[in-house]
């Protein structure tokens, strides 16, 4: 077997695609924003803000409809997010606006 399918994340070799960076960026963001030990530092970065950011990143690149079509609706069940539902709604409004801007103008969103 010549093709193992395994690659080091830092090496950026891809088993299925020839665009290494976007893929490993997704992997890295998924891990450094969603995973890892949560400890309250002295700087009060509201972790909820980071959770929201994760949502934003995902939604920025997949429309809500597309995400739901794909069965991605985890943010609806995230207790950290639902307690801030009001804030989230506001964020989503901003977000929709930004998606429109990006779709309209090509923007800076790495596509």
């Amino acid at each position: 077997m010549s093709e193992s399918g395994l690659s080091h994340p830092a090496a950026g070799v891809m088993a299925y695609q020839d665009r290494p960076n976007p893929a490993s960026l997704a992997d890295i963001l998924e891990r450094v924003l969603d995973k890892g030990i949560i400890i309250a530092g002295d700087i009060r970065v509201n972790l909820l803000d980071i959770e929201l950011l994760t949502v934003k990143i995902r939604l920025l690149v997949v429309s809500v409809d597309k995400a739901e079509e794909m069965g991605i609706d985890w943010w609806r069940h995230d207790p950290m997010l639902t307690v801030r539902e009001r804030g989230l709604a506001e964020e989503n409004d901003e977000l929709r606006q930004r998606v429109e801007e990006l779709e309209a103008g090509g923007g800076s969103g790495g596509g």
Binding site: L6, P22, A23, A26, R31, I50, G109, G111
Partner: protein, 266 residues
């Protein structure tokens, strides 16, 4: 800290200590800083160690204009800043995890000074130790299964409305079949791999624009694999890739054990 020093009364203050903070990347056990080979952290700052009772916190100085509350609130909204920070954070975590048991911190864990880091490592000592016990000698592997996308060949225009509808229905049917096949394949992939892993964790599917792939991701799972089973895991992935040509199997690693660095309830 209470004592004032006489010689600092002249001249302008060079730099207020409050403008710098300490960024905590990860906590390792038994890590020798030399093993990192002069690794630089965010903003090319030196990575330093803060030790508490066997735990080694990896820290570097960051500018609080950038990493303070206000700065972060602003910067976290910028994907270019976030990418740089995320990659810088990950680089330190990767380097540490390659040489010692390492528990990664979430992005942007920032303290005023080393005393703050020390206090937290002391408070959380047992819980962090438990995480290190769990991940020691293990690596995280990421395995994804995606549907293959069919490049629809340009066809001659449909000769009639009925022909057009028939083609559309066939295309939809093909997509449904692909999805079902992919879910079946994903289950088989998981069954084959989970036996080689100490733990596994399902992650949300990634969006296609970040992965750069148009197929639907039906499986995105992190596996915590004992290091001595890495070769067997790689071989199993290779076999699965050969056996399941109907889907794309993407396996990457080793990652530091991000997905398994979870503090248990005290």
């Amino acid at each position: 800290m209470a004592e004032q020093t006489a010689q600092q009364t002249t001249g302008a203050p060079a730099e207020t200590p409050a403008s710098r903070g300490r960024y905590l990347y990860a906590v390792s056990r038994g890590l020798d800083l030399d093993a990192l080979g002069g690794l630089l952290g965010l903003g090319d700052a030196d990575v330093e160690a803060v030790e508490v009772d066997g735990l080694v916190g990896l820290v570097s100085s960051v500018d609080l204009d950038e990493y303070g509350e206000e700065g972060l609130r602003h910067n976290l909204e910028r994907l270019d800043w976030l990418e740089t920070a995320a990659r810088g954070h990950d680089a330190v975590v990767q380097a540490a995890a390659a040489v010692a048991p390492t528990a990664p911190m979430r992005l942007a864990t920032v303290f005023r000074d080393d005393d703050g880091v020390r206090r937290t490592l002391a408070e959380q000592h047992d819980r962090i130790s438990a995480v290190l016990d769990r991940v020691e000698g293990h690596e995280e592997w990421s395995v994804k299964v995606l549907t293959r996308t069919h490049d629809e060949p340009p066809t001659t225009p449909a000769s009639s409305g009925a022909e057009y509808l028939r083609r559309r229905q066939e295309a939809r049917q093909a997509r449904d079949d692909d999805q079902r096949d992919a879910h079946v394949a994903a289950e088989q992939v998981h069954d084959a791999l989970v036996g080689l892993a100490a733990a596994s964790r399902r992650l949300p599917p990634q969006d296609p624009r970040l992965t750069g792939h148009a197929g639907t991701m039906v499986h995105n799972v992190a596996y915590l694999v004992p290091r001595d089973l890495s070769d067997a895991f790689a071989a199993a992935v290779g076999d699965l890739t050969g056996d399941h040509r109907e889907v794309l199997i993407d396996a990457r690693g080793p990652w530091p054990p991000y997905s398994f660095a979870i503090l248990e309830e005290p």
